[in-house]
Symmetry: C2
Subunit: 203 residues, 2 copies
């Protein structure tokens, strides 16, 4: 594995477990196996620069899960509920691991590390753009699609925190049921609406 990749993966893993503030360069050296000089050679900005790269890479991987999880389901609401249930199972089998360091790190650093807050905003905007495009492809209107991805990510990030706090699948199951109910109301609109000429509905 390339040195840069090892450094970024180690930072993502450390932030997932203990957040941004608790993670120091010494620990990053230890976990990545890359010497301090190498870290600063590749990341002139030091720790915040490595963290930025880790958030960008983690964020890019996460949004690719959306089609993988939902494509198998003709009914979006059913797919959404199954995706939350899968997340609950993944958390329990990994000892309630933090499935999304982007969310927890964003909450931690939003007021204190402006350059990382901007990277988090960029990652979230990418999720929203990709998610909107995906749900438009599944037949939702632009407005519904954008609300849908925001609602899905909000419910998921919040339920991750509650599930980690309580070491319980219940928050994810409840959030999944609620988000699925919302998707069902939007799907009902697809079935009853007359598509506008030239609209992007259907795929």
């Amino acid at each position: 594995m390339e040195t840069v990749e090892r450094i970024v993966l180690a930072m993502a893993e450390l932030m997932r477990r203990q957040g941004y503030a608790a993670t120091g360069i010494n620990q990053l050296v230890e976990v990545s196996g890359a010497p301090t000089g190498s870290i600063y050679h590749h990341f002139k900005g030091g720790k915040p620069a490595v963290a930025a790269a880790a958030l960008r890479q983690t964020g890019a991987v996460y949004i690719e899960l959306l089609p993988l999880l939902l494509d198998p389901y003709d009914d979006l609401a059913t797919g959404v509920e199954a995706a939350f249930a899968q997340a609950a199972e993944d958390m329990e089998t990994t000892g309630w691991a933090n499935l999304c360091p982007v969310g927890t790190v964003t909450g931690e650093i939003a007021d204190t590390v402006p350059e990382l807050r901007e990277v988090a905003a960029e990652v979230i905007a990418h999720w929203v753009d990709e998610g909107t495009r995906y749900f438009v492809g599944r037949g939702l209107s632009d407005t519904d699609a954008r609300s849908a991805i925001y609602a899905l990510v909000s419910a998921l990030e919040g339920a991750f925190i509650l599930a980690r706090g309580q070491r319980s699948r219940e928050p994810l199951h409840a959030a999944g049921k609620a988000t699925a109910a919302y998707f069902a109301t939007m799907s009902a609109r697809i079935r009853t609406q007359v598509p506008e000429p030239g609209s992007s509905a259907g795929r």
Copy 2:
């Protein structure tokens, strides 16, 4: 203000802004105005003990907002959407302040500070118990009420993070709309169901 109260409030304020790991006893001395000896006198366990008290107190205050925000609305779904809109406005007017340090701190410390993770679990369980009781009082079944409070808190905590990251009201508005749509499906069940004899529906 009592010394203990000043220490706890200062800790809550510091954790809201910068999380748990970044907050040191020296800073707590500075912000609370209480000397180090006084902090350890009142909190033998030091920083994690002060943080535990701050999470418990903040958590207790938050759940009291639920009836205050929803009682004015005959329709729960309308009330839920309004509550998310109010949270969005409060965040923007406070410069995207962290409205709930419990959520961000739980995400940060769940893997690293076991005694604080247990306190977070206790605070969340209290929210769920109180919220379930409240929604049963508003006519939901026990099962629906428990799902409802989990879904509401998940959506709110997740949307807080996205809103802070993006400095935008949009995540909270979308999460509010989605959560309201879920509540509307439960309210529809109230209207169509025949109450069981001795059930606690209605208030």
